[in-house]
């Protein structure tokens, strides 16, 4: 079904009027030739739709008793934390029992640091950052995509202890953090900002000069220093690509998000960021995104839930095993799932080909810990969402695999990619994902 303008407008307004939509008609927004994303009679058209990957995270852990369903299989009951998934129940696969073995390797740093590094990259914490590339970057690298942005990093809640490993979900390699864009306006401008031709040509000549400066420096430097400049060069190339492939019409289609006066109005910011990511994926600007709802070991306060006495991480260790403490954790984690469900719902609301964007997307939702208070790093509960590559959904599965096994399965089975080096801690692929 071709994308109807009215339907799109209706979808947009579901976001709470965060984004206003104007002309021209939306058929133009998806890509320049208008074929890739519109269904045609041609049976091969779907082949042009490329699957997308989103790595979704929020900090601290969960109250297992309110999160992990008792039953496995399709006839499971949504637990209190998972209740917001009701509208997308058939689109998600709830997974429990995943181990994160490299969180236990002796390393500097606290349990959050260690679990986070091992969760995102499968490798032990270096004392400065993640020990290797994060799963979203491994997937982006293997996709060798030619989209405008190789990947996007998005964030929402800011509060944390401020260390590198707390604040970043995506890592290009050991100690190489890829910071998330936290400000909706900046993200909008990056994705949909309109530039005129003289801007583009000036920008290009500026980057040419920068590139020449980089090249002239390289020979005189020692190896580690050259690595650093290589990284700069890579970023310059990505900038050039982003400029060269500026979408011609998309920027006129979406209006800028309204100013968010309260920069800690996170439920609102989360939804705007979700909308923007969904549109970035829909318009083919990127195929890979990471979304950090809260920081690792998050210190966010939650006034919209009525919890103001402490910060999220404090709650996970204060009276946490008592019924009252568990209920607090339940409410907090249910909010995380609400935001996740909103995002999945947005993907599902955007038509693509014969189905929706969600049909061509795989979202992996993880925390750094299972039960939060004891910093549990085995038996992690994750959620997969979407139908890319024929993912199995509508069920809860208990597994005895590592995070590496899961990522390897996602990369190779869902995205049909080949990871030459496998994935750290991966031993075998998991059956039952696709």
């Amino acid at each position: 079904m071709p994308l109807s303008r009215r339907r799109f407008l209706r979808n947009m307004s579901m976001t709470g009027a965060a984004i206003r939509v104007g002309l021209p008609p939306l058929a133009a927004m998806f890509n320049a030739n208008g074929t890739a994303y519109a269904a045609t009679a041609d049976a091969g058209a779907d082949a042009a739709i490329q699957p997308r990957f989103v790595f979704w995270f929020n900090g601290n852990g969960i109250p297992e008793r309110y999160w992990i369903p008792t039953e496995t299989g399709t006839a499971y009951e949504l637990t209190p934390c998972l209740a917001p998934l009701a509208s997308v129940r058939d689109d998600v696969h709830v997974i429990s029992g995943i181990d994160n073995p490299n969180a236990r390797v002796t390393a500097p740093g606290n349990t959050h640091h260690k679990s986070m590094s091992a969760l995102v990259s499968g490798t032990p914490y270096t004392g400065r950052g993640a020990g290797g590339a994060s799963v979203d970057q491994v997937v982006a690298g293997a996709m060798r995509g030619e989209s405008r942005f190789r990947s996007l990093q998005i964030g929402v809640c800011q509060e944390s202890h401020g260390e590198n490993i707390h604040r970043n979900l995506s890592w290009a390699g050991a100690d190489r953090a890829l910071p998330p864009e936290m400000i909706p306006h900046n993200l909008f401008d990056r994705l949909f900002g309109v530039r005129d031709q003289s801007w583009v040509s000036r920008k290009k000549s500026v980057l040419d000069a920068v590139r020449e400066d980089l090249a002239s420096l390289q020979p005189s430097l020692a190896q580690p220093d050259r690595h650093r400049l290589d990284e700069h060069l890579t970023s310059v190339r990505e900038l050039e690509r982003a400029i060269a492939s500026l979408p011609s019409d998309y920027g006129k289609t979406l209006k800028e998000p309204e100013d968010v006066a309260d920069l800690t109005d996170y439920p609102r910011i989360a939804k705007i960021q979700s909308d923007l990511v969904a549109h970035a994926l829909a318009s083919g600007q990127t195929r890979v995104a990471s979304y950090m709802l809260t920081k690792c070991q998050s210190l966010v306060r939650l006034p919209w839930l009525g919890y103001t006495r402490l910060r999220h991480h404090d709650y996970t260790h204060t009276n946490a095993e008592s019924p009252e403490g568990q209920r607090t954790m339940r409410d907090i984690c249910r909010w995380h799932v609400e935001e996740f469900a909103y995002f999945v719902g947005r993907l599902k609301a955007i038509p693509e080909g014969d189905g929706t964007l969600l049909d061509n997307t795989c979202v992996v939702f993880a925390h750094e810990h299972a039960e939060a208070n004891p910093h549990k790093d085995n038996g992690l509960a994750l959620i997969l969402a979407g139908h890319a590559g024929g993912m199995k959904t509508g069920m809860h599965s208990k597994m005895r695999n590592t995070v590496g096994d899961l990522y390897l399965t996602v990369a190779e089975e869902v995205f049909k990619l080949r990871l030459d080096k496998g994935f750290p801690t991966a031993e075998k692929k998991i059956s039952g994902i696709v």
């Binding site: 969180a103 236990r104 002796t106 500097p108 740093g109 606290n110 349990t111 640091h113 679990s115 400065r128 942005f149 990093q153 509060e159 260390e163 590198n164 604040r167 190489r176 953090a177 890829l178 910071p179 864009e181 990056r190 000036r202 920008k203 000549s205 500026v206 980057l207 000069a209 920068v210 400066d213 980089l214 002239s216 420096l217 005189s220 430097l221 020692a222 580690p224 650093r228 400049l229 990284e231 700069h232 890579t234 970023s235 310059v236 990505e238 900038l239 306060r301 006495r309 910060r311 404090d314 260790h317 009276n319 095993e321 008592s322 009252e324 208070n373 004891p374 910093h375 549990k376 790093d377």
Partner: protein, 666 residues
């Protein structure tokens, strides 16, 4: 070799053959024959293979390392990547913890089993296989001749010789970027405040291993450069960046002059011919297009501000030293005088460097640089970002938080720039207050803004530990956090890293209940009752207990007040007042017990660990990395200079400038 083996192995300690050979640096691996000989006798065979794994499993390294909480003891484990030979040598140096007359009284056996009070608790179970292995090793060590032990010690020392240069280019920090564009372009807009924030690594934001160039940052540099260049010439050349009067957009001479003059300041060294060519071409490409000279200048500024030669420190030779001095002591680019000093070769000798450095310390720019160090070391970001419960602390606002930070800045600034004893930071019986802060402290309002005020006799408040900036940022929205305050003291003031709780441990602190209202300290008893928790929490909590008389925003309180919300609306909340026990100790510090917050500051100020930590912190900031064994000599030299000057901070800075690390840029 045979002779040494002879002296090393007496009686049943044939086992030591390989070890001693290794310790003396004579053999890297055990020969087959030696292994056979060792296995023939019961007892320790190879330290690295038998004993070392026991120590590692007991997690001794967590505290007993150069930056661990037991850094003041005689037991320091080698680096995690130590070679087996170094580990064997380390095993022999443990003889210092052995009582040769009565091995059963050795600290090496009685501390980890907690037979003698061990701050880290029981690490090796009495009566276990591990203890037996350790006892055998202790007995063996008791028989070793002094020269064998000395040889092992030498080997270990030489093992920590300087490593090969494993450095990466340093990038301008956000603070340096802001200051540099201010001095280069006259732009005060602080564009880096809107860049992706710098994250903390090793306690600072400038650690070079993680100073990368991710696409988002490159994009932010691009956007900032565009805006800065536009603003620089929006109203003509108001900041005098063009050193000549162009006769028109085709004035090649003026164009070249501009590229060379501006380029020298942007790249912090003269441009080479190739660069001049590149940027004049760029200039012309734009000025020819629009017909305006300043559009050419603008595009050059925009490009240079994104060049690696501006963003990274790639200068070499004299200009490299000039930049390093400037960014360390001023946190900004060199000025004309410093460029000239570099051009004249004045920075090539240690004495020349020192002369220039002392002069630079007289410039107000030095304050901004050292301020930035303080802001990161003391985590002012946390204080400024603190959020408190509005009902409980209505007076706490972002403005008040900024005043708290200002007080701390002023005290430290006073100590540094008025040549005070820097350790007074922990003991000062005066402070710099305004009316709002005085009210938090329960003192009469001073007549002026932030003027120096003597704290009244009988007050418990003294130095940094009494500053609201420290007390409030290490507390929750309502409650204090003795653990957080204790960790802060350990990490920032003693340079000791506290090990993390093992996974799977219940780390909860019970909330008070109306039926059982307990003070925070009592509620945290679980940390001490459970041995797994106690071994680490004993290091942190008791420091924080000593500060329990300060509430979550740093006000003095005689009682801990707990408010219980009423279950029913419109019924008043019930409050309970509990007595506060403010005694505590800094475990591991000789005479570390205290009964008053003032005494904590005194203990710190007088302890070598804290004094040396001041040196380590500025070292980490100055060089953008943690100190390694290869830096011990420099840290020691700087510490000596610092102490002998009566802890004058400027002398510490000068000592670092004169270090080989500074000259070599390591």
């Amino acid at each position: 070799m045979a002779a040494r083996i002879g002296t090393g192995c007496a009686g049943r300690t044939v086992c030591a053959v390989a070890l001693i050979a290794i310790a003396a640096g004579l053999a890297a691996t055990t020969t087959t024959r030696d292994v056979g000989a060792q296995q023939a006798v019961a007892g320790p065979i190879s330290f690295s293979r038998t004993l070392y794994p026991i120590f590692e499993a007991a997690q001794c390294r967590g505290c007993h390392s150069d930056d661990g909480v037991a850094s003041a003891t005689r037991l320091h484990f080698p680096e995690p990547n130590a070679t087996p030979d170094d580990i064997e040598a380390f095993g022999i140096t443990l003889a210092v913890l052995v009582d040769r007359d009565d091995p059963s009284r050795s600290l090496l056996i009685n501390k980890p089993t907690n037979r003698e009070r061990h701050t880290g608790g029981v690490r090796i179970q009495p009566g276990s296989f591990e203890e037996q292995a350790l006892t055998d090793w202790v007995r063996h060590l008791a028989t070793l001749p002094a020269e064998t032990i000395a040889a092992a010690r030498d080997r270990l020392a030489s093992a920590s010789a300087p490593a090969a240069r494993d450095q990466l280019l340093r990038r301008l920090t956000h603070s340096q970027y802001n200051n540099t564009v201010r001095d280069l372009l006259g732009d005060h807009s602080r564009p880096a405040d809107r860049f992706p924030p710098e994250d903390f690594v090793n306690g600072f934001r400038n650690q070079l291993r993680t100073q990368g160039m991710p696409p988002l940052l490159a994009e932010a540099y691009g956007a900032a450069a565009e805006r800065l260049a536009l603003n620089a010439f929006r109203a003509g050349d108001v900041n005098g960046l063009v050193p000549c009067n162009p006769s028109g957009n085709r004035d090649v001479k003026c164009r070249d002059q501009f590229v060379k003059t501006f380029g020298r300041r942007a790249f912090r060294r003269p441009l080479d011919a190739e660069e001049v060519q590149r940027y004049t071409t760029l200039f012309t490409s734009q000025s020819a297009k629009t017909g305006r000279f300043l559009d050419g200048a603008r595009v050059v500024v925009e490009a240079m501000l994104q060049s690696p030669k501006f963003l990274f420190h790639v200068e070499r030779g004299d200009y490299e030293i000039a930049s390093r001095l400037s960014y360390f002591l001023w946190d900004t680019m060199p000025d004309e005088a410093l460029f000239e000093a570099a051009a004249n070769g004045e920075l090539r000798s240690g004495d020349g460097l020192e002369r220039v450095a002392r002069k630079m310390l007289g410039n107000p720019l030095a304050r901004q640089a050292i301020d930035e160090f303080f802001a990161e070391w003391l985590r002012f970001d946390r204080a400024l970002g603190s959020v408190k419960d509005r009902r409980r602390y209505p007076e706490f606002t972002p403005e008040l938080a900024a005043m708290m930070v200002q007080e701390t800045r002023l005290l430290l600034g006073h100590l540094v720039w008025d040549d005070g004893n820097f350790m007074e930071a922990f003991t000062a019986d005066y402070s710099f207050l305004n009316a709002d802060l005085a009210s938090v402290y329960g003192l009469p309002a001073p007549s002026g803004e932030f003027e120096r005020v003597r704290l009244p006799a009988g007050t418990h408040r003294a130095g940094l530990l009494g500053h609201a900036s420290f007390l409030s940022s290490n507390a929750g929205p309502v409650e204090t956090s003795p653990t957080a305050r204790g960790i802060f003291v350990r990490e920032q003031f003693l340079c000791q890293h506290v090990p993390s709780p093992p996974p799977g441990v219940n780390t909860e602190v019970p909330e008070p209940t109306i039926d059982r209202p307990l003070a925070r300290r009592q509620r945290m008893q679980a940390h001490v009752a459970n041995p797994t928790c106690a071994s680490c929490h004993r290091l942190m909590d008791p420091i924080g207990f000593g500060l329990e008389n300060y509430d979550a925003i740093g006000q003095w309180r005689d009682k801990e007040v707990i408010e219980f919300e009423s279950a029913r609306r419109n019924t008043p909340a019930r409050t309970v007042e509990l007595a506060i026990d403010g005694t505590g100790e800094i475990a591991g510090l000789a005479g570390g017990a205290f009964s008053d917050p003032k005494q904590i500051g005194r203990l710190l100020a007088e302890s070598r660990a804290c004094q040396e930590c001041m040196v380590k912190q500025i070292f980490r900031y100055a060089f953008g990395r943690l100190e390694t064994p290869a830096d011990r000599e420099t840290v020691k030299t700087a510490f000596t200079a610092f102490r002998e000057s009566g802890f004058r901070f400027k002398e510490l800075l000068v000592a670092l400038v004169r270090s080989p690390q500074f000259l070599d840029g390591l």
